[in-house]
C-alpha cells in the first residue's frame, strides 16, 4: 500500500536526544542505591553493612547530577527554575521538580546525620582551613553526646523510611513521564512507571556491587562475600521482576495485536533488533540471571561468586542503559502515522552528543571520589550510627 514512508512533519526530527536517555538512567541509579541503603537502615539487613554508607553517598552523588542531562537538553537552561517558580498543575515535569527537591532534601539531611560523628571528629582533630571546612560542614555544632547520637540514629531511620516512598515515587514518576504520552503506543502503558522503578532498583544494586568490588580492589582488600552474595540475590530477584514485567508488557502488546502492533513489531525486529533483542534481553537479562545463580549456593569458590556477580552487574548496567535507550529512542523512531520510520541522529561532538553523555556519566563517579576524600565512606563499621542506636 505505501510506496513512500509516511512520516508526519513533526516526527521527522526526534526531539529527545541521548540526554533524555541518561536522565532516567541516572535517576534510576539514585533510586536503586537508596533502596540498598534502606535495606540496611530500615530493614536491618546486616549483611549489607559494608555498602550501606557507600549506597547512601552514591545515591546523593548521582542525584546531584540527575538533572544535568535535562539542562543540557534545554536550549534555554536558565529557564529551568520556571517549572518551580510558576508551576503548571498539568505539567508532568513540574511535578518531577518538586519530587526531586523533596528527595534531595531527605537525602542530604540523612547523609549529613550519618556522617556527622565523622565530620565533628575531623573538625575537632584538624587545624586551620581544613578544620574550618569541617566546622562549616558540621553547621558549627562540634560536640556530640551519646544522647545526640541516639537521636540522630532514630532520625536517620525515620528519614530512610520516608526516603523509600519518595525514591519510589521519584523514579516511578520518571516512568510516568513516558507512560503518560498517550500518542505514543511504545510508551503509553500503565506498567511504564513500575517497569522503570524495578529496573531502577536493578541498576542501583548492580552499580553498588561493581563500585564495592572496584573500591575493595583499589584498597587492596577483599570484598565481603556475604555482602556481595546478599546484593547478588536481591539483584537476581529484582531482575526477575523487571524482565518479567518487560516481557509481559510486550507479550500483551503482541497478543492484543492492536493497530499499533505492526509498527512496533517492525521497530523491534528491524530497528531495535540489536539493542533490544541482543543487548537488553539476551546479554543483559538472560545471561546475568544465570550468572547470579552462583550466589545462591555456598559450595562454589568465593572468587567465582565475586566474578560472576561483578560480570552480571556490568551486563545489567549495560542492559538498563539499553532499556532506557530502547524506550526513549525507540519511541521516537517511528512516526505517529504508524507508517514510517525516521533516523536517530547521533553525534560525538555536540552539546547533546556522545562525548557530553560520557562526561555526564563520569561526573557522579568523580563526585563520589571527592566525597570519599571528605567523608569516611569506606571505613568499616564505625562506632555510632545504626548498631548503637539499636
Amino acid at each position: 500500500m505505501s510506496e513512500i514512508p509516511f512520516v508526519f512533519p513533526n516526527d521527522v526530527h526526534p526531539p529527545w536526544s541521548i540526554m533524555i536517555v541518561l536522565y532516567p538512567y541516572i535517576t534510576g541509579l539514585v533510586a536503586g542505591a537508596f533502596v540498598v541503603s534502606a535495606l540496611y537502615h530500615v530493614f536491618h539487613r546486616e549483611a549489607l553493612k559494608p555498602v550501606a554508607r557507600l549506597a547512601l553517598v552514591t545515591s546523593l552523588c548521582f542525584c546531584a547530577f540527575a538533572t544535568l542531562p535535562l539542562l543540557l537538553h534545554l536550549h534555554r537552561p536558565e529557564r529551568c527554575f520556571n517549572v518551580l517558580v510558576t508551576p503548571s498543575v498539568t505539567s508532568a515535569i513540574a511535578g518531577f521538580g518538586f519530587i526531586y527537591s523533596a528527595y534531595m532534601l531527605v537525602l542530604v539531611v540523612e547523609v549529613w546525620l550519618v556522617f556527622r560523628p565523622a565530620i565533628v571528629e575531623q573538625a575537632n582533630s584538624l587545624t586551620g582551613a581544613k578544620a574550618l571546612f569541617y566546622r562549616v560542614l558540621a553547621l558549627g555544632v562540634t560536640d556530640i553526646t551519646d544522647r545526640s547520637r541516639a537521636i540522630d540514629s532514630r532520625l536517620i531511620r525515620v528519614l530512610a523510611i520516608m526516603g523509600i516512598p519518595i525514591a519510589c515515587v521519584l523514579h516511578g514518576y520518571v516512568g510516568f513521564l513516558f507512560g503518560a504520552v498517550k500518542a505514543n503506543p511504545w510508551w503509553s502503558t500503565a506498567l511504564m512507571p513500575v517497569i522503570f522503578l524495578i529496573s531502577a532498583i536493578v541498576s542501583g544494586i548492580a552499580a553498588l556491587i561493581l563500585l564495592y568490588q572496584f573500591i575493595s580492589w583499589r584498597r587492596g582488600e577483599t570484598a565481603d562475600r556475604e555482602c556481595v552474595g546478599a546484593l547478588a540475590r536481591y539483584l537476581w530477584m529484582f531482575l526477575v521482576l523487571a524482565a518479567s514485567l518487560e516481557g509481559l508488557e510486550l507479550l500483551q502488546m503482541a497478543y492484543e495485536a492492536g493497530g499499533e502492533w505492526p509498527i512496533l513489531r517492525a521497530l523491534l525486529t528491524e530497528h531495535l533488533a540489536v539493542s533490544y533483542g541482543l543487548v537488553q534481553v539476551l546479554i543483559g537479562s538472560l545471561v546475568p540471571l544465570l550468572l547470579l545463580l552462583t550466589s545462591f549456593t555456598r559450595r562454589l569458590p568465593a572468587r567465582l561468586v565475586m566474578f560472576s556477580s561483578g560480570l552480571a552487574s556490568l551486563l545489567i548496567l549495560v542492559q538498563v542503559f539499553a532499556m532506557r535507550w530502547n524506550v526513549v529512542v525507540g519511541g521516537q523512531l517511528f512516526s505517529k502515522s504508524f507508517r514510517g520510520f525516521v533516523e536517530f541522529p547521533l553525534h560525538w561532538m555536540s552539546r547533546e552528543g556522545l562525548l557530553a553523555a560520557a562526561v555526564i556519566l563520569t561526573l557522579p563517579l568523580a563526585a563520589l571520589w571527592v566525597a570519599g576524600k571528605i567523608l569516611p565512606i569506606w571505613q568499616p563499621a564505625e562506632a555510632g550510627t545504626l548498631a548503637d542506636a539499636r
Binding site: 500500500m1 509516511f6 510558576t86 544522647r147 532520625l155 493497530g259
Partner: protein, 186 residues
Amino acid sequence: MNRIVALWRDTRHLWVLLILVVGIGAVALMARARMVPESYGETGPYRARARDEIAAKPSVLIADATCLECHADVGEERAESLHKAVRCFHCHGVGHEHVALARKAAENPDLSVPPAAEWDGNFRTDIDLYVTEDRATCLACHQAVVGMPEDFKKINVAEHLENMGASETESRETCFECHAGHDTAP
C-alpha cells in the same frame, strides 16, 4: 531546667539544621515572589500580557495575499478549487527572499527575480522558494492512511496509477500528467 538545657545541647545541631532549611525555604519563596512576572496566571499558566505583546509584533509569515499581488493568475485558478484552503508556502516554501527581491525589483526595473528552484524532495529544506511538481508533495496530504476523513480525497498510489493507465508510474511528476496543482479539477 537541667533537662531542658541537656535537651538543647543534644538537639542543637538539629535546630541549626532546621533554621538553615527554613531559611533556604524562605529565601526561595522571596525569590519566587520576585521571579513570578506580572500578569502571570490571570488567564492560565502563562503571562497574560504576552498575548498582546506577541499580537503586536509584525507577522513574518508571507501570507497568500502577498503572493497574489504578483501571481493573480494563481488566485484565479484556485478560486473555485478545493486547494484554495492550502496556503502557498505549504507547497512552495516560505519565500522571504523571493518577496524581498520582488519588492525591490518592482522599484528598480534593472533588477530581476530569479525563478523558483527545483525542490530537493525534503520538506525540511531551507530553499526559499521552490517548484514542487513532485508526487511526494501531493502524497503528503493525499496518501490514504487510516483515520482520514471520509470525504477527503485519498488514494492508494499503485492502484490509482494502474486504474488511470499512467505511463510513467515511477516518475516524480506522474501526478501532474493528469492534475494541475492549483486547480484540483481532474
